[in-house]
């Protein structure tokens, strides 16, 4: 005979799971931002591309495709990982590239957040 109430049950198991899932999700977001430079020039930064992709290779392809220059900025604080920085407003293009299954990375559009105006 077993008493229902006294079963071993970890009340935090679910919460932990949920929590970890959430933090994972927030970390997985890819942020595309735009920054103003002088005049009507802008920079586009792409932050949080998954580690399994090689940022250098992405940059090489993207630079050719968008006809713009760009660099990879390794963050010393290692908070944000590698950031791809492109010249000009490439937000729409880079988003297409990231979501494109045939020629791009084929990522889920939900994980991408486009910031800025």
């Amino acid at each position: 005979m077993s008493i229902e109430n006294l079963k071993t049950y970890d009340p935090f198991a679910e919460a932990d799971e949920e929590d970890s899932g959430q933090t994972k999700q927030t970390q997985e977001y890819i942020h595309i931002r735009i920054q103003q430079r002088n005049g009507r020039k802008t920079l586009t930064t792409v932050q949080g591309i998954p580690k399994k992709f090689d940022a250098k290779k992405i940059l090489k392809v993207v630079k050719k495709e968008f006809a713009c220059n760009g660099t990879i900025i390794g963050d010393e604080d290692s908070k944000m990982g590698d950031v791809i920085q492109l010249q000009g407003d490439q937000r729409a293009k880079i988003k297409d590239f990231l979501t494109n299954k045939d020629e791009g990375l084929g990522l889920d559009a939900k994980t991408i957040k486009v910031h800025g105006f």
Partner: protein
């Protein structure tokens, strides 16, 4: 069930607005008819009824039609003119009249005369039109003006004031959420002033600081608040751009995801998380904290300073 109060409001608003125009038109005709009886035409009785909607846009058209009526009356003293005055003139009627006109040559001469007469009359009709800026209190709206203001003018003033003072109330039917458009001024060459931020924040019921920090994070700049609580943003931004950012802010931090009502409150819950509580459906959700994220170093001079 949850959206029922809003629906009710919508319904009442709609029914209200639907009811007003006929009443407004009828009363307009009622009040303006005596004014229009000034001796302007040969056939006075019929056009008097015609002049019912004095201030409306239809006026010019009606005047023209009336002219045609007059011409006919003058030409052959036709009976139908009175009937036309009573019923609202439609396109059909107008066409018929024109056909009649084309037939006789005399009417053409009359038409030429009418054009001359019309100009004179247009000027005359403008005199009894009630003009003036109600915000400044000029013309008919002057304080010591003794002329009775027409019902139409009063009604339009009422709605103008209502929408001005109480924008949520006057939104007819549409449940869209309205905030005043952001006013952007340029300060110097490199700074933008966002003038009506406090007003917008008040409408959204959000703290100025929260909105400000969101704006700065999204635009990737910094800025400050000046003496008259205006926001000074570094960088050139157009109104449209700020509007876009505000729109995303409203989606993210103002509207309730469950019932889409903007009637929400943002509060700091336990363990550093911000929560939005909806006042109309009672749902509660957590929102992301505002994060600046990566920002590239722009310009060498800034790097030297920083």
């Amino acid at each position: 069930m949850d959206a029922s109060p809003a629906d009710e409001i919508k319904e009442t608003a709609q029914s209200h607005s639907a009811r007003t125009p006929p009443l407004h038109a009828a009363l307009g005709a009622f009040t303006d008819a005596p004014q229009a009886t000034e001796p302007q035409d040969a056939a006075a009785a019929a056009p008097a009824a015609d002049d019912g909607l004095d201030l409306s846009l239809m006026k010019k058209k009606k005047k023209k039609v009336k002219k045609e009526d007059d011409a006919d009356v003058a030409a052959d003293e036709a009976a139908p003119a009175e009937g036309d005055g009573a019923i609202d003139l439609t396109m059909k009627k107008k066409k018929k009249k024109k056909v009649v006109k084309e037939d006789d040559e005399f009417a053409k001469k009359l038409e030429a005369l009418n054009i001359e007469g019309k100009e004179g009359e247009e000027a005359a009709s403008q005199e009894d039109e009630q003009e003036g800026d109600m915000d400044q209190g000029t013309g008919i709206w002057a304080h010591d003006e003794t002329k009775p203001i027409s019902y139409n003018a009063l009604l339009s003033r009422f709605f103008a004031l209502l929408s001005q003072k109480n924008p949520d109330h006057a939104s007819t039917g549409t449940r869209s959420y309205k905030i005043p458009p952001p006013q952007c001024l340029r300060e110097g060459n490199k700074k933008t002033i966002f003038a009506n931020l406090p007003e917008i924040c008040k409408r959204m019921k959000r703290a100025d600081e929260h909105v400000t920090s969101y704006l700065f994070a999204e635009l990737g700049t910094s800025g400050s608040v000046d003496g008259s609580r205006r926001l000074v943003i570094k960088g050139r931004f157009q109104q449209k751009q700020i509007e876009n950012v505000l729109r995303t802010y409203i989606i993210e931090y103002v509207t309730c995801k469950t019932c889409r009502s903007p009637n929400t409150e943002l509060s700091k819950g336990e363990n550093r998380l911000y929560f939005i509580t909806c006042n109309s459906c009672g749902s509660r959700r957590s929102v992301q904290a505002i994060k600046t994220g990566f920002s590239a170093q722009v310009g060498k001079r800034k790097k030297m300073q920083g």
